[in-house]
Amino acid sequence: MEALGINLGYLLIQIIAFIVIYVLLTRFVYDPLIAVLRDRRTRIQRGLEDAEKAASARMNAAAEAEKVLQQARVEAQGIVDEARGRGEEVAQQVQQDARSEAETIRNDARMAAQAERDAQLAGLRGQVAAISIAVAQQLIGASLDESRQQALINDFFAKVPDSARALSGDVTVVSAMPLDDAEQQKVQNEIGAESVVFEVDPSILGGLIVRSADQVVDGSVRSGLGEMSQRLG
């Protein structure tokens, strides 16, 4: 041992020195440095994560912007469409109004014309009746009193056929001469329908044609004459 230079004192000094160095290095170099390295690694890790997050946030923002833009575009389109639709609607409304007004005016005009014609026909009615009665008196040689004569005339012009009494709904009554109010009231009562529209058609000669939605009762003189001529012929 002596020849190899091993000396217990030096051996112990070296061991103690090594332990002291170990403690000093651990306290002042290793622990702080390892902490710094770990801290740095976590920071870098966090930085990378943040960058990733920022990138994804940016992409999300872009997508969001795109979405908002798309939405705005759709909304704008909707507004435009709505405006256009409303414009069309308004135009249509105006057109409609104009049309209906025109219609009204036309109807008024027609009604006025009808009334005018009815008034003329009403004027004629008495004369026609008087002429007919005069002709009949000539033919049958009999004379009729005034009231009976009037009833006849009324019957002639405003007799409601029997089968028309059961009609319902909207009914149109066609007469050869315009009926006066009392007659219209009577006809309506006899038919029993709620709403009756009265029309004038001199070509039926006399009597009434009652038309409902699905049925026509022809009580006109024209049809009676037609039947008669068939029977005679």
């Binding site: 020849a3 091993i6 004192g9 160095i21 290095l25 002042f28 801290d39 690694r41």
Partner: protein, 399 residues
Amino acid sequence: MTLNWSGKRRWIALILVLASLVVMFNWPPVVPVIQLPGEIYPSGEVFGLPITNTFAGSVVVWILILVLIRVVGSRRPRDGGEVPRGGFYNFFEMAFEGLYGFIGGIAPERYLGPIFKMFMTIFVVVLLSNWLELIPGIDSIGFLHPHVHEVDGHTELLEGFDTATLGGVYYVNGQCPWVSPDVAATMSGEALQARADAGCHSGIPAMEEPDDPAEASDDDHADEAADDEHADEIDYHHVEPGDPAVPWVILPYIRVPSTDLNMTLAIALIAVVMIQVMGFRALGIGYLTKFFNFSTLLKSPLGGIDVAVGLLELIGEFAKILSFAFRLLGNIFAGSILLFVMSFLVPVIVPWPFFLLEFFVGIIQAIVFGLLTAIFMSLATVSHHHDEEHHEEAAAGAH
């Protein structure tokens, strides 16, 4: 900080090469005395311990480590956000981080801290010790020492050289190996004349001695040297430097501490003890079953083999101490001898690659010492038995 020498450095190198050529021919180098134990300082003892130059080398290493601690402590960033700004600290941190990752790949995660600290401390201490041998003058500047050897109360003169001075500084004269007066008496006249021409003092015949008393430092000693029959009477431990009566050698002030068995053995002992400590820490008292494995002795016909293997492992632990200690000592001692023998044979250019070689040997031995310790510590944490190993892993996984 950055010096831009650009073209100047090559001229400085050339001048140094030329200067060393001049030195080589005028003052030829000398092979130092080679001995394994540290050379003892002539100036007494401290606490009963004779101071050796390897111990002085250890002190130098400790001072360097303190400087390292100071530098790292003052330059290190306070947290991970700070970026180090170059310089030595940055290099140290790079090496530190690299080695930390290196050991992280070997040691188990749970014991990485203590294993790495052990590795790093061994690495730093051994590396600085090894690299001391690269510093010029470490093996060549020292005390002038009379090369004598005490045997049975009789003083024996060994090989050595004459000394000379240059500007008040003594050096051993490589041109004048010391010869005893007895040998000188047998030498031919021409050889003696050649020695006298080279400026040697020893072995010059007695009749010439009185001619140059001024050259000898002291008349008394000159007389004693001349008095060749009474050489034994000289007090060899109190001769003046330069006395031609004794052979002189250089006793270096500092020698590489890795060439001292005390240092290598100390670190080897600590390493092996720490390996056992790590084993007990990881496996508890069960670590002993690695060495004393009687569990299969009665169960299986080959149980005896396990017992023998355990005992071999126990011997292996002691072999590790010797292996650690002598591996480092052998490498660095041989490297140190290689360096100064090469410097002696051809002082210029030829030793340079050997310095480079020793630079790497220093690193490799430091890494091998630390790495083997780290690996043995890692192995000690693993249980010997496979079933226990799985159990341990399951327990570790549960945490």
